[in-house]
């Protein structure tokens, strides 16, 4: 069967196909889900998935593949879905994407594969992300997850630093090639942002756990509670502990504050602190099943417009004592970098968006936050990012009454590895400098993901992990013992 030429799924014309409406995603009702932590979208049923797959034209020149940062064979997997061959679909997906259940949920498909989908010009694009999610969930639920045949041990040891999507992908690929791989993770749980940042209602932690267990089945050792740079340096891993190569995937985990007066009042948090308390530490189960306290505020302001801001806002809203959550963003809705779907979800759930608004200072009493002074903005000339630069409107100051403010204005890279690894070069932002394959200035050391390109996306981090794995494989194979 040759899938790339026009296959015969259902004998209907392309015109007919394009008449099939895009299948909506079943979701929890906004007002119900706004007070629980269960996943918002419920997922396609098999029938829905097959119907949606029928919308795909199986293009000869499928633009969607180029739109995907790891070039998933999209029409091929969709073909299998249309035929009801979900297992084949899963195998096709996994050839290029190690974490389809994650990507199907958190990838910005609307900016990647779906935005270039050929039918997208005329009708709504094929729901590629939802199909990806369906296939991955089907595979997990049916326990059809198959382990690939692993070649004989190569005798090479590889250290992967950081158990985020970049590190996990790199580790999986190297293990499949027969290398002995250990992932070193600073926190007590593997997953990176997938476990400490992205909330349960968007990415159930059990999915990440399943992926980590799969890696362990492939033979990957996961060593949590191990801070490279402190517990051991990269050089010690290589010279004393006998690792032949290292992949650094330590992410962008350094919170930026804004330097505003009152920023250290009780009640002002970085999004990293708030989300880590809630997700990694399971703060939403405090005080019964978790010991880590979370802020108890009725009115919460989240500053920023990215995914992190949306996640913090929607998480805060779900706490039973929260009455009102504001997103305070200095540009307008169109410039918001968060995924459109998440902005839409936030709006539905009742988050109030204060756009073209910027905080100027935090106000407090006896050390506790009581309000946030803001200023209205207007859009001026385009700036370096091509987006129109917000400029303050004089005299437009007003005070927002909030007891909690969450700063989600971006993350830098953690300098720990750079500081403790002589000769490893980084740019002025602290991002490790690496080439296409992830090769750094130090022999035997690769890097990828947010630590190289700055805060980006899960799929880009995975892509980088994959490329580095291929390069590391070549390097250790060529290297004499």
């Amino acid at each position: 069967m040759n899938e790339t030429t026009q296959p015969t799924i259902k004998k209907i014309s392309n015109k007919e196909r394009m008449k099939i409406p895009r299948h909506a995603m079943p979701e929890q009702e906004p007002l119900v889900r706004a007070k629980n932590f269960f996943e918002v979208p419920l997922g396609y049923t098999a029938d829905m998935a097959m119907e949606e797959a029928d919308r795909c034209l199986q293009c000869k020149d499928p633009k969607c593949i180029q739109g995907c940062p790891v070039n998933v064979k999209i029409p091929q997997f969709i073909f299998h879905v249309a035929m009801g061959n979900f297992e084949l679909a899963a195998n096709t997906l996994k050839e290029t994407n190690a974490l389809p259940a994650v990507c199907g949920r958190v990838c910005p498909q609307e900016e990647q594969c779906e935005t270039v989908c050929v039918i997208g010009g005329k009708v709504e694009p094929v729901a590629i992300g939802r199909l990806e999610r369906f296939v991955a969930d089907w595979e997990r639920a049916s326990r059809k997850v198959s382990l690939p045949a692993i070649p004989r041990s190569s005798g090479k040891k590889i250290a992967v630093i950081g158990a985020g999507p970049a590190g996990l992908t790199c580790a999986g690929d190297l293990a499949k090639l027969g290398h002995s791989v250990t992932v070193f993770e600073a926190l007590h749980k593997a997953g990176g942002v997938l476990v400490y940042g992205i909330p349960e209602f968007r990415l159930p932690k059990q999915i990440v756990e399943a992926e980590v267990q799969y890696l362990e089945k492939l033979g990957v050792k996961i060593q949590c509670n191990f801070v490279v740079g402190m517990t051991r340096t990269v050089d010690e891993l290589m010279t004393e502990d006998g690792y032949d190569a290292v992949f650094i995937g330590t992410g962008a985990g350094l919170p930026y504050f804004m330097g505003l007066p009152g920023e250290n009042l009780n009640g002002v948090y970085s999004a990293n602190e708030f989300l880590t308390r809630m997700n990694l530490m399971k703060g939403f189960e405090f005080p019964n099943n978790a010991d880590t306290p979370v802020p108890m505020a009725k009115h919460v302001a989240v500053i920023g417009g990215g995914n992190t801001a949306m996640d913090a806002a929607r998480t805060a809203l779900r706490l039973q004592w929260t009455e009102k959550v504001y997103i305070v963003y200095r540009r307008s809705l169109v410039e918001m970098p968060a995924r459109k779907e998440e902005i839409h979800h936030g709006e539905q759930e009742g988050i109030e968006f204060l756009l073209l608004t910027n905080p100027t200072r935090f106000l407090g009493e006896n050390g506790w936050l009581t309000g946030m002074e803001c200023q209205k903005m207007e859009l001026g000339e385009p700036d370096a990012s091509g987006r129109r630069k917000p400029v303050p409107i004089n005299g437009s100051e007003f005070v927002l009454t909030v007891e909690s403010a969450i700063v989600a204005t971006g993350n830098g890279s953690n300098p720990l590895i750079n500081k403790t690894t002589p000769g490893l070069t980084a740019n002025k932002y602290g991002n490790i400098i690496a080439d296409e394959s992830g090769k750094t200035s130090r022999e035997g050391m690769w890097a990828g993901g947010d630590i190289v390109i700055g805060a980006a996306t899960v799929i880009k981090a995975m892509g980088a992990g994959k490329k580095a794995a291929a390069a590391i494989h070549e390097y250790v194979t060529a290297k004499k013992k």
Partner: protein
């Protein structure tokens, strides 16, 4: 590589201070004076920072002194030899800054006595004259006296009630030393914030260099969350990675004190629920007899 961390020794020292020896071989290899670990007792547990008071290369163990003040530290006080901690990670923080050729005065109060211990030893090892001033409310709450004597040229003790050593605070002793112009090059103070502040205020008047080890609320310990931020001079610093040791004359102690109370209401709830369940459990146990 261990994945759980067994308690090998435990001693009940003074009121609510416990000494633990825990197997953590990875951490021992890199431990330096002034650093700390983060531990978690069980799934669902909090991550709490505890100073490395001592370590043993051969045995691969770390020694911790923990004061039971809230839920996590009280639960820890109920663990026995042979029990396991779910997570111990580190070492964290920058090692203490040790200068040669100095008269080094260390001031410790409460668990701070355990925290100054390795730093005094590091100073002794480079040949510095070491004077340790340790204090507590009363005699039975003074911990580690013998250990401190073994590494200090002199140990001076203060108790609030005068039941041992000088009656008064650690600052009473330090003040008299400074007033009598005893040679003091560097002072290190570790303990309750109020004590570190009092020491810093005092030494500032005499222009004596003073180091303090700050204990803000922490979570990850890697510089990722910013919970531990403190103001030193004009700059925001993350105590877990930029400290915990800082120039006592530049620290904003009032801010630190306020920020330590960030979760007080929640901590209280947590402790109340915990005590209630403990009591019911005790009740059940006695009822069974």
């Amino acid at each position: 590589m261990l994945t759980v961390y067994p308690i090998l020794e435990k001693n009940d020292l003074a009121s609510k201070v416990y000494r633990y020896v825990i197997a953590a071989p990875d951490i021992v290899k890199k431990a330096k004076a002034g650093q700390f670990v983060i531990l978690r007792l069980h799934e669902g547990g909090e991550r709490i920072p505890i100073t490395l008071a001592d370590w043993d290369m051969q045995r691969g163990t770390v020694t911790l002194y923990v004061q039971a003040i809230g839920k996590t530290t009280t639960m820890m006080s109920m663990l026995k030899v042979g029990d396991f901690l779910t997570d111990v990670v580190g070492p964290f923080g920058l090692p203490s800054h040790v200068e040669k050729g100095k008269t080094f005065v260390a001031v410790g109060g409460g668990f701070g006595i355990a925290a100054i211990h390795p730093i005094v030893r590091a100073n002794k090892l480079v040949g510095n004259k070491t004077i340790s001033i340790i204090g507590a409310r009363s005699k039975e709450m003074i911990i580690m006296e013998d250990e401190m004597r073994a590494i200090s040229d002199e140990v001076r003790i203060a108790t609030d009630d005068g039941s041992y050593g000088t009656k008064g605070f650690v600052t009473t002793i330090l003040k008299s030393m400074l007033e009598h112009k005893e040679p003091v090059d560097v002072v290190l103070a570790i303990g309750p914030v109020i004590m570190m502040k009092a020491v810093s205020d005092l030494t500032k008047q005499y222009g004596v260099k003073t180091l303090v080890s700050l204990n803000p609320i922490m979570m990850d310990g890697t510089g990722m969350c910013g919970a531990c931020r403190v103001i030193v001079g004009d700059t925001m610093q993350f105590a877990c990675v930029d400290g915990p040791e800082f120039d006592g004359h530049a620290v904003d102690f009032n801010l630190l004190m306020a920020r330590q109370k960030m979760y007080s209401p929640q901590e209280k709830i947590s402790m109340e629920i915990f005590e209630k369940t403990c009591r019911t459990q005790e009740h059940r146990e006695t009822a069974a007899w």
